[in-house]
């Protein structure tokens, strides 16, 4: 049984089809990268896998550990081990970061039949995980993401990944908007979270994250489907030739034609 199996997934919003037949299989321990130009459907796929209900699925299915993922609520997916690091983490004024993460972890642990962590135990856990993303403990005492810089928000996402301990971590453009130092910290944090029993799906516009987090498989998404799959070489090829290179092998079923750079 695969960890994640996406079969011929078609989905859209307001009658407009964005995903047009995505196929993707991920096994535990693997790191996959999905690259692709803006508007290709990468983020839609990420949001859909996490349970965003603004998209409607018209065809196909998604199996997670053999179960129908699309019929599960977002919180059930989290309990089952799906985690999405948001491209735009949400600011939540008035809710402390520490409380937020402990409540989230305990909600998941309770549902998994595990004992909840008290404030002391959680603090110890948080301190350990904070080191991974080189975050100061003071961020735990602030409201969730409120007033955080772009890089701090992304680090806070990876921190949540480390705390919540998922089986499938989807990272949606976690590298976007970061300078090289911040990118290295994030990459270091992500590498620290690679495990034989955990898969990762990195969604990125640029190749540069993949210099630091080396994927097992690279997929190129264009016009709502996976246009190419390969190993790390594919990412490098794309870096050299640009997404326009994909157009040279146009898909006969594509109605939209050329993909915007």
């Amino acid at each position: 049984m695969h960890l994640l199996e996406i079969r011929n997934l078609h989905a859209g919003v307001d009658g407009k089809e964005i995903l047009r037949g995505v196929n993707l299989t991920i096994d535990p321990g693997e790191v996959h990268a999905i690259m692709g130009p803006n508007g290709s459907g990468k983020s839609t796929l990420a949001q859909l896998l996490a349970g965003r209900d603004t998209y409607s699925v018209s065809e196909g299915q998604v199996l997670y550990q053999g179960e129908d993922l699309l019929s599960m609520s977002p919180e059930d997916r989290a309990v089952a081990g799906v985690f999405l690091a948001f491209q735009y983490p949400v600011e939540i004024p008035g809710v402390g970061n520490m409380y937020f993460m402990r409540t989230a972890l305990n909600a998941i642990r309770r549902r998994r039949g595990l004992e909840e962590l008290d404030a002391m135990d959680f603090l110890a856990l948080a301190k350990e995980k904070l080191k991974l993303v080189e975050m100061d403990q003071k961020f735990m005492n602030r409201s969730v993401n409120e007033g955080f810089s772009g890089g701090e928000k992304k680090r806070n996402e990876i921190l949540q990944l480390a705390v919540l301990d998922p089986k499938l971590a989807i990272l949606d453009e976690t590298d976007s908007g970061l300078d090289i130092d911040a990118l290295k910290i994030i990459a270091h944090g992500v590498n620290g979270q690679r495990r034989p029993d955990r898969a990762m799906l990195l969604i990125t516009h640029y190749q540069r994250l993949l210099n630091y987090v080396v994927p097992d498989r690279v997929h190129v998404m264009a016009d709502g489907r996976i246009a190419r799959s390969g190993d790390r070489q594919l990412a490098m090829e794309l870096e050299q030739k640009g997404y326009a290179w994909l157009e040279q092998q146009p898909d006969p079923t594509s109605r939209r034609g050329a993909v915007a750079q």
Partner: protein, 439 residues
Amino acid sequence: MTESRQHYLARFESLRERLDKLGTDRVRRLRRSAIERFGDLGFPTVKNEEWKFTNLAPLLAVPFEPANRDGFDLDALRPVAARFDGARLVFVDGHFQPSLSSVGGLPKAAVVSDLATAFAENPALVEANLGQHALAKSSAFTALNTALMQDGVLLQLPKGTVLNDPLQLVFVSTAPSKMSSPRILIVAGEGARATVVEAYLGLCEPPYLTNAVSEIVLEQGAQLEHYRLQDESARAFHVGLVQVTQGRDSHLVSHSFSFGASLARTEVRTVLGEEGSSCALNGLYMGRVQQHLDNLTSIDHASSHCTSRELYKGVLDQRSTGVFSGRIRVHPDAQQTDASQTNKNLLLSEDAMVDTKPQLEIFADDVKCTHGAAVGQLDEDAIFYLRTRGMAQQDAKRLLTYAFAREMVELIRLDAFKARIETSIATKLPNGRELAEAA
């Protein structure tokens, strides 16, 4: 409408002999003119601009009788009073209960007494201030309170007196179909400082009416932090006025929490009468079922170099309705006025409603006045974010609602009162008890 007016005029006549024994000739004259004024005004209708969003029909449908002094269960009240640790005056159905009260620990210079005692012992002070700030002529409810008041509080702080601990005024209603008309008079002399808590609670399931008036004078440099909690029983009616007159460089901080009652109207009005005076008016109203919670604030910038800050938040669930009317009037010679007003509302259901009405009347030119009002729902992105972290949808909504309200809780500087408010908020939210540590 006329019927209810006649009802209360008749109640005044039947109580007249008793009322005439309270206070001096001037107080008697004050009552007479107040009841006349009430007779002229009658109860306000929605045609009255200040009552545009509040229909009083449910309140007027019950012919409330002035509450008696006795007939309550003292044992049931002891635990209620005990929750207000420290200096407190407790009133049951509007009447002072010495056995539930305790004013030890207050500085000797401070005059703290029930109003009935004050009528006898401090007639000059009472005469000079009572009814001089909260004017019977401007409101039927104030007029009715002035005519029918029997008890309440006098707090006088001579020049420089500082109350380190809060004085708590607790009003508990126990009697069905009764009305109480408590009257509070606070006179803070030059440089005096105090914190006062007013709490209105109910131990009575059937409807009753509280019609409270607080009249507050802050002399030069005086500072008052005023906390007001309206947490009446679910079927009760509550009308309350806090009327403040501020002297030079005085500072008022008002916190008004409106949680209870089926229909509540709370007014906080201050006149920044002399240079350099300032105020901060904070409010939180949280309605459920079919509650109607009306909040009116009025700030008169009557002098130059005065500052006012205002932040009111509303959370309306189910079929409840909220009202915020914020009037700021900047008089022609009130140059260098600095005023800001913010009202934010969170609607938790499709049937909940809020009317928000900022009203700025600016007659001076060198001023800084800002205002903003917002009505919104919970942020769907935030709900989704929390759910992807494992929180159930209801828990996510509860947490975000609590986070919205807690900004007002954070402004409370009294630990015990803060804990009380947190509990009240939590009981308004399903399973909200453990939320108090959320920040």
